[in-house]
Symmetry: C2
Subunit: 370 residues, 2 copies
């Protein structure tokens, strides 16, 4: 299939513009170099070796993952310096230990004393250390110990004092940038998160502890603030694909979105003034419901169409206004969806069709599961 | 892993109670025998060989699928008499022709004269016929030519008169039963759909055409009406797993739901009165948002907990009222989610862990893609 046109693909199909991927990756690398902070790209959006190669500039080092399945997948293919940035689950300590004993550098994360106790009880072989990041909640409101809690400092101290364990760093995810609109708001959250982390680093220093620090999210790293130079690392991920959501937040322009779902018209419903397409939530995900005037996606080049609703394998499309001209959309017509959330859409596809200027150059197969 | 407890599984994990699956399958077979109508079970919910075996009573015959990937997967494993119940997509005619030429009985579906024209232009080898079902919209409002349109009869006649093509049957999906609450409403829709189809069959008879007829949906086939005896087939699918949605519609009781997602507590957030669990939308899907007081799922045995929100790999859980007692939910605590929509949840899992009375008896691997 290499060399053939993406328009010849059976649909629904997720296509990835490798040139845009490379441009997004390069810009993020240059941006981080410009700020003076180490980029540790997140793999959770794409979960593929090929895209990981592009994001790491071929080094296969210094990545972050959201599942242990990703960690194992990348480790099995020669990646190293992997941070499993997920409050270490109690059922996966042994698998984490195995990776810690096998890789040069496997890093875990925690936000609770009970998790530390678990690591203490499972010392690594050959004098190896558990490399532990402390997860701080700096206003994101998901995982992490609240940065302002006195317990946060106590936990950091406990980590650094526990035998067989090293406090590698302090980690905060500023997912609250997803509520922003525009660069000013994004940078306000990026600044706040950075400030909270740096203040925490000062507290650590005051008790004699030094370690790394990292914040991340695609919006904040697409528009970094100067103070991020004082951090050790940043860990964005979605930026390699971007999506409509990121364009609305202000992280990117629509021209930076590297992924599309190709779909075809499979039905005419004149009695409802609708078209049917062969992409339902099985091909797009439910994500984005109610977020866009055009439905869960934008229909590229057809601003007057919107994706009204989806079932598993069908999408209902209607005009924003007026009567549908069916002669303009004969059965088989190819339509192109720009997904609201590329992480969610990518997760629905067992393979991504990769192209350059519309010609297929390969397939990327993501890992799945946990 | 066989013989071990499902509670030892790493989470999130989708578990399937094989005894409930078998009971659901048996009841549907008996129900259809009782009515006197052929059951053609739909594979789209589970997409696995093992569950297909159970649903067909081991015959591996007479199934319906939603994607061509399913059709090929089942055909590759010895299944036959397969109905691809999806308006035949213009990009997949050649693949459909190949299946038609290879299997004893591969059946397609259409609702537009242009699709018929496509089949006419691709005659099958060795004098084989395209076996075509006409898709009728009997009020469901998705695919199908409207049953009341004069064009519907004309299209049926055109199919039956086209060389190389056979009008195998008339097919209607009563997905509008999903808007019902309770048996009375379900049966009203089942009756209406059946009546419309039977009236259409009368019209066909009047012009000298006889063929099969089929309606389906899990609600209607869980509570069939007498007139369904006059149909040739029914084609429900979800019933083998059922889910919270089906229990709310009135198709089943919660005790009939065969699937769960196991998850563990991975975080305590006392400052927000929340728990974090290791199941986000990657493990549950977004389906069901806003449909339940308990969020996108029910948390079995914990009626006071609700799944407030999810991100890719995290779920936020809070009490319906009052303060959370964290001592009751130490990190690592196993919680069990009953999914809102099992079709959507199953699609998120690369493997289903199958158990009997909580002991693992195997793994089922679904097919994916299109």
């Amino acid at each position: 299939m290499e060399g053939s046109l993406i328009t010849d693909l059976c649909t629904p199909a997720m296509v990835v513009d490798v040139d845009v991927v490379k441009r997004n990756a390069k810009r993020m690398m240059e941006r981080c170099q410009g700020v003076g902070v180490q980029l540790r790209p997140h793999m959770k959006t794409h979960k593929t070796l090929e895209c990981a190669d592009i994001m790491t500039g071929g080094s296969r080092r210094c990545i972050v993952v959201s599942t242990l399945a990703e960690a194992c997948f990348f480790a099995d293919h020669g990646f190293d310096d992997i941070l499993y940035a997920y409050s270490i689950p109690f059922d996966k300590v042994e698998r984490c230990a195995a990776l810690s004993e096998r890789l040069s550098l496997f890093q875990v994360l925690l936000d609770h004393p009970d998790a530390l106790e678990l690591l203490r009880k499972r010392p690594l072989r050959e004098g190896r250390l558990w490399h532990v990041w402390l997860k701080l909640d700096c206003g994101n409101g998901r995982a992490g110990i609240l940065h302002s809690e006195p317990d946060a400092l106590l936990l950091a101290q406990a980590v650094s004092e526990t035998e067989g364990v090293e406090l590698t760093g302090v980690y905060a995810h500023c997912g609250n940038t997803y509520n922003c609109k525009g660069v000013v708001q994004i940078q306000a959250v990026a600044q706040e998160t950075t400030t909270f982390v740096l203040q925490f680093m000062e507290q650590l220093k005051a008790v004699g502890i030094t370690c790394k620090s990292s914040i991340g999210s695609t919006p904040s790293c697409s528009h970094p603030v100067k103070d991020m130079a004082q951090l050790s690392e940043v860990h964005p991920g979605n930026y390699v694909f971007y999506d409509v959501q990121q364009s609305l937040i202000g992280s990117c322009g629509l021209e930076d979105v590297a992924v599309r779902v190709l779909t075809r018209v499979i039905g005419h419903c004149p009695h409802r003034n609708q078209l049917l397409i062969d992409c339902g939530w099985a091909g797009l995900s439910h994500d984005g419901a109610g977020k866009l005037p055009t439905g869960n996606a934008m229909i590229e080049g057809h601003p007057n169409l919107r994706l009204l609703s989806m079932t598993q394998e069908h999408g209902r499309v209607e005009p924003m206004s007026g009567k549908l001209d069916y002669s303009a959309y004969p059965l088989g017509t190819l339509l192109t969806l720009i997904p609201y959330h590329s992480c969610a859409t990518a997760l629905m596809h067992p393979v991504y069709h990769v192209h350059s200027a519309g010609r297929l150059v390969g397939k990327w197969t993501p890992t799945r599961g946990w």
